[in-house]
């Protein structure tokens, strides 16, 4: 409880930092109300010792008094003030507080036009929230007719010349604020919303093995009509596209694979029905934290499979080029974005040609080289076949990220290389046998699930 004195003394007095009630509440994990009181108490204590040593800013809320212009027609209770509004400048809240007699208001606009504004239409009940420095406080208080609340906004060693610098204090925790806000809201006093809804379908296909047994879950059934309205479905019969990103990826990767490579693969077992607040970076980091079960796959088997997949790829129209272009607005198309599109894409593919058991395919790699070991993550396309409600066999392709590590540095990675600090921390080669059986398959759920 009293640690705030130490914390504030260090931050404000010694290090000369700005501390806002928000940054204090995040740092000490206390309710913002308590943080405001702490700032107040600390400020009172320190300014009693040395008023020069510390400066505060305050946030006030209430109803502003109308501006004191004296000329007036008989005003309604407690108001006067026909005033002129500059169009290009804010309407002062004080303006809005009061009913006023109808007057012709001349507007000074940045256009040569003069607007006629009926004053009553700018009227509404209004409260104002004003941020004031310590030395402005009394003056600002005078402007208020009624103050609803007032609290210390921030403490700093000296009055800031540019008050906008206060934002930097908020910026210090803003990098991870989303995560902390989401998980720890009630502690900080953020308003809760019981109705919050996030994506239930983060991954298009459920992870469980149920679909493979010929009984697709209700969720995947529900998705099918949605998938059918995807633009890609309206296109005519699939054509082989030698230049599609999928096919080219398949062609390249086997060549770059050294023989007898131990692969660490991380199956995904979490189903993120619950809202998760992690973004992609979080995900990568958390991937690295947990030691995953690993699998080994011989290169011979892989090249054989890759060859078969190259054939399959020819059968499958992967308009991924066009689809990916949609996400091009993002600077670096994040895996999740790409996967979304791929999902729609993959779901559109319903061919009985691919009845094989799921086969992993390599798509892209994000790798880093440390201490002679090559570690990273790569995106893999896997196939799953199952019987749907109507008895049709449905084959789906899923994109999946798996981490791996190899003994020697590989040649230049494929086109989408992203050096990720998080991926360097991926786990060591714990070996576990796997032939890519369906139950071992993961999915993009791994991106959103908490580890």
């Amino acid at each position: 409880m009293d640690q705030y004195n130490t914390y504030l003394a260090t931050q404000v007095l010694s290090e000369g930092q700005i501390v806002t009630y928000r940054s204090l509440s995040r740092a000490l994990k206390v309710h913002v109300t308590l943080a405001k009181q702490m700032l107040y108490a600390f400020h009172a204590k320190e300014s009693a010792k040395d008023p020069e040593s510390i400066s505060a800013t305050y946030l006030l809320s209430g109803v502003l008094r109308p501006p004191s212009t004296s000329e007036s027609t008989p005003p309604p209770p407690a108001t006067d003030g026909e005033d002129t509004i500059m169009e290009s400048s804010p309407v002062p809240s004080s303006w809005i507080d009061q009913p006023t007699p109808y007057v012709e208001v001349t507007q000074v606009t940045d256009s040569p036009l003069i607007e006629r504004v009926n004053e009553e239409e700018t009227f509404a009940d209004s409260i104002s929230i004003i941020l004031a420095r310590q030395e402005e406080l009394e003056e600002v208080k005078d402007q208020f007719e009624e103050i609803n609340w007032i609290h210390v906004y921030s403490l700093q060693p000296a009055t800031p010349a540019d008050i906008h610098i206060l934002h930097t204090a908020n910026g210090t925790f803003s990098k991870n604020k989303n995560r902390s806000l989401a998980t720890n809201d009630p502690i900080f006093g953020t308003i809760q919303n019981p109705n919050v809804r996030t994506r239930t379908v983060v991954n298009a296909v459920p992870i469980s093995a149920a679909p493979i047994k010929g009984k697709p879950s209700t969720k995947s059934a529900a998705q099918q009509p949605t998938a059918s309205r995807a633009p890609i479905e309206t296109k005519p019969a699939p054509k082989p596209k030698p230049k599609s990103s999928l096919a080219s990826a398949f062609a390249k990767t086997p060549a770059s694979k050294p023989k007898t490579t131990p692969i660490t693969k991380q199956p995904d077992t979490k189903m993120a029905n619950a809202p998760t607040f992690s973004d992609d970076q979080d995900e990568e980091a958390s991937d690295a934290d947990s030691p995953p079960p690993n699998t080994e796959l011989t290169s011979a088997a892989r090249t054989a499979k890759a060859a078969r997949q190259a054939q399959l790829a020819a059968l499958i129209d992967s308009d991924s080029d066009a689809e990916m272009a949609n996400t091009g607005a993002d600077k670096t198309p994040s895996p999740a974005a790409a996967e979304e599109e791929e999902e729609v894409d993959a779901m559109a593919v319903d061919t009985s040609a691919a009845l094989d058991a799921p086969i992993p395919k390599e798509e892209t790699e994000h790798a880093t080289v440390t201490n002679g070991r090559r570690r990273g993550k790569r995106q893999v396309v896997k196939k799953r076949t199952f019987e749907d409600e109507d008895g049709y066999l449905v084959t789906r392709e899923e994109m999946e990220w798996e981490s791996f590590s190899e003994d020697e540095p590989a040649p230049a990675p494929t086109k989408k290389v992203k050096l990720s600090a998080a991926s360097t921390a991926s786990s060591g080669p714990n070996k576990k046998k796997s032939t890519g059986a369906p139950s071992k398959q993961g999915s993009i759920m791994s991106f959103f699930g908490k580890k």
Binding site: V91, L113, T190
Partner: protein, 531 residues
Amino acid sequence: MATVDQYMRAPQPAQIPTVSRPESTYHSLTTFNLPTGGDRKYSTQFADLYFARLALLKRHVEATVHAAWKDFDLDGERATAVERVLDVRQGELSWVIGTIFMDMKLKPNILDDIIKEAFIIAPPPRETYRNGDKGDRIVIEDESGRLPITGKFLHEFLLCTGCIVGILGTENKNGEFEVIDIKPADLPAQPPRWNLHNLSLKEAGEKPIKAKKAKGKIAIVSGLAMDGHFSDVLLLDMLQEYLLGETGGAQESSQISRLIIAGNSFADMAPIPTREVMMKNGSKSFSAEPNTWNADPTEEVDDFLASLLPTLPITLLPGVSDPTSVSMPQPALHSAMFSKSRLFIRHPTEPENALSWFDSVSNPWDGEIDGWKVLATGGQPVNDMNKYVNGGNRLDMMESILRWRNVAPTAPDTLWTYPYDTDDPFVLRECPHLYIVGDQPQFQTRTITGPSGQSVRLVAVPSFRKTGTLVLVDGETLEVSTVQFAIASEHKKQRNAQRSVSAQNTPKRKPRPKPNTPKNMPKRNGATKRV
């Protein structure tokens, strides 16, 4: 607990109750969504839009006009209806229905654009298309042809290109139509409250509700204008903290059940730079250059939204400076831009009736919030219309837009528009209860009523970055209040500026005898109730 000194005392650790928000009943419509993929065609002519609009609206105008003018009698002469514009006979008192077109000297012109590129001294950008009424011509047109209109009453009516009206008068010897009166179609039928909600309940096999109270308030903001520089962002911080309920008065902000962002979340991210910007930069290409792409604004907006979303559902409309298409209707801002907020958007494979907690929607947009039919735009139609009007009140323009039943009347003439061929989705089919227009110079509100008991709350929302205004609309009563954010040092400057301006302008003011009839309003059937 809610005393002024609640926060100004020594820390007292106590169990502070958690505050939560009321539910926002929400249904989003896709009226203004463009066709996707290959169905989106830009090869059709814009003229089709005018034909479609006239065909859709003519019978409605006819009904209104017939009721109003069938007994119109001028010196013993009865007014008659004329089917087509070119059938008007000289000297006969008659009425005709058509599309207004305003031929104005200062309107954008493709030839002007070429002049600008070829010569160094370019004409300045237009704040208005009005040229002191010199050389501006107003005509009414339909499929048959055009008829110039004139008359000393004409200036009493608010008109702009593209509105469909009925005009009453006679043709004079110059071949011009002397106008006595002008009538729009007036407000369309208004759906009952909870209409969409009940429809969706019916679909789900549940019982429709008769009366439900909405407890929350709808917060509306426009012009957050984030530029990724993080300068002057303290107002945004204050807004964010207020909405999260972390500033004082959490009880008060916990009443907010939904946030609508009505355009211009980005400061300057429109994909096509204006001609003026291009001239300045010396760039000859319209396309965005990938090497100069700056992701900071996107991240700033994403962070802002993502911090609010766990506690507040958001409807996001694009505006004129946002990175989406520049032509109306603007498609929703793409979810790929919001890597953190995206989690709250409905997944493409989820059923379409699933609620999007974060709803990135088109501009204009319509839907139902707390049972009220809502129509919202990022402000372009009204701002463009303002250029046609000699000093109009923005609320008058908003009112006219609804009475003309046309959400974007100046499209496609001076407002960039998708070339619809068979339909005009801007034609208003249902009267909203709440009409929100973003990017306006100042906050204004008014309630208008229609001939068959419709009642619409108009709200003009100013830019937050310029005014610090957050508008709150009560979900039950549609009463409007505002929250003003300000920083004391800057606030003081503004107040002083206003005082000096007001001192200068004092002599110009004169009391207005009758408050209820601004001169430039279209005459209308329904009375206007001001609240």
